[in-house]
């Protein structure tokens, strides 16, 4: 039987090793799943779970149930989300400082010389040719997308979130009160609407 959050909090506050066991059993796999989905890196996902649970255990004396039974769970996932966000930010700042010299040459695995700048340009061109992106990722586009998501009616936003996060269609259908086969159709339509919205905002529609 899975322990309730109130049991876990009470054991943690009493500083028992059982508290550590209960919080690990109930949450570590879910936190790992969330972190791994966002980071696609095992080591980083493990480190996020480690940091999240350690911080929760350290700060347990400050935690109190205020809003309801989900308070503890939401608190844990917020810690996890903040940690994931920090890693994503540090990644993008690292990517931004890669500097390549135009004259630099390197040796490939076969011992042949190549120019890393030309190599990067070729790779980007090939990627663009293959994927023909309709959306050019940029901070403005992300801001626009977040605004769009905020404006979406709750049920539609949830269908989009659920499908993107890979949740089972049956569960999504139950939650929003539609037949499961309709989830896929709704998801497809929502993506089309989203694309149209973005293109119209960018003046391409």
């Amino acid at each position: 039987m899975v322990a309730t959050d109130r049991d876990i909090v009470s054991e943690l506050k009493n500083s028992t090793p059982l508290g550590a066991r209960l919080i690990c059993n109930k949450y570590q796999n879910y936190l790992y799943h969330v972190a791994y989905k966002s980071l696609s890196n095992r080591q980083e996902a493990v480190s996020v779970v480690d940091d999240t649970l350690m911080q929760a255990v350290k700060k347990i004396s400050a935690f109190e149930f205020k809003g309801g039974e989900n308070d503890f769970r939401n608190w844990l996932f917020t810690i996890c989300y903040n940690r994931v966000r920090d890693i994503l930010r540090s990644r993008s700042s690292k990517e931004a400082v890669v500097v390549l010299s135009l004259d630099e040459t390197r040796l490939n695995r076969n011992g042949k010389e190549y120019n890393p700048v030309q190599h990067e340009l070729d790779k980007t061109a090939a990627r663009e040719y293959e994927t023909e992106p309709v959306l050019e990722d940029s901070p403005e586009l992300r801001k626009l997308t977040r605004e769009y998501l905020e404006k979406l009616p709750e049920k539609k936003r949830f269908i989009l979130e659920g499908c993107i996060r890979g949740l089972p269609h049956k569960e999504i259908a139950e939650m929003v009160g539609i037949p499961p086969e309709q989830v896929k159709v709704n998801f497809y339509r929502l993506k089309l609407q989203f694309k149209e919205y973005i293109l119209s905002k960018e003046g391409k529609g």
Binding site: S15, K37, V46, L53, V57, S61, L160
Partner: protein, 205 residues
């Protein structure tokens, strides 16, 4: 198809930067997570948390008899450990300077140099009994004055290079020497004046 994949990937990366909604977490917690934490990591994390819980139990036990502690700095350090605060956070919450907490914990400041307002805040916000607090403050004051004696005695017995048995003997002699010096200790008028003003500050207003 490529276009749809592009939108999916873009939306996924946007959602990765957003916290999970309550509804999505409900579904996640009901289903089996797709990615699970590697088993060796689970055990490692559990033993880390468990060790932390045991350590905190020891801290709480020590705090149940604050009068048995060596100094006010030790008391502050244990309180901080119990609530899981770093020095900076703790100082901010109590409303004292970070350096005050650091110096107090290391016993490297004469108590009388700590502003009365800060000391009042430390006593009131940690909830320690005034009588116990004053007794610990006297200890802290004495330990601060004793620090040079302690280092002098330790240096005289050149403990680092001796064998284990010799080290124990030397430490015993250091203790004896310090004890004899302690017997000559006279309560400081400065400290008693400071404590009287502090008592007035705490009880008077």
């Amino acid at each position: 198809m490529r276009e749809e994949k592009n939108i999916d990937e873009f939306l996924e990366s946007v959602f990765n930067e957003l916290p999970w909604s309550d509804e999505a977490l409900d579904i996640l917690m009901r289903s089996e997570p797709e990615h699970t934490m590697p088993e060796p990591m689970k055990e490692k994390l559990f033993s880390k948390l468990s060790e932390f819980q045991k350590e905190r139990a020891r801290v709480i036990d020590k705090l149940s008899h604050p009068e048995k502690l060596n100094s006010f700095g030790e008391f502050i350090s244990l309180i901080r450990e119990k609530i899981g605060d770093e020095v900076e956070e703790f100082a901010k919450n109590i409303g004292v300077a970070e350096s005050t907490v650091l110096h107090l914990e290391k016993n490297d400041i004469p108590i009388v140099k700590i502003p009365l307002v800060e000391m009042k805040s430390l006593i009131q916000k940690t909830g320690i009994n005034i009588k116990t607090a004053f007794s610990l403050l006297r200890n802290s004051f004495m330990l601060y004055g004793f620090k040079p004696n302690y280092f002098q005695s330790m240096a005289r017995f050149d403990i680092k290079k001796s064998s284990e048995t010799k080290k124990i003997q030397s430490i015993k002699r250091v203790y004896e020497e310090l004890y004899l010096k302690k017997m000559k200790y006279k309560p400081s008028e400065k400290l008693e004046d400071y404590l009287a003003s502090l008592e007035h500050e705490i009880r008077g207003k």
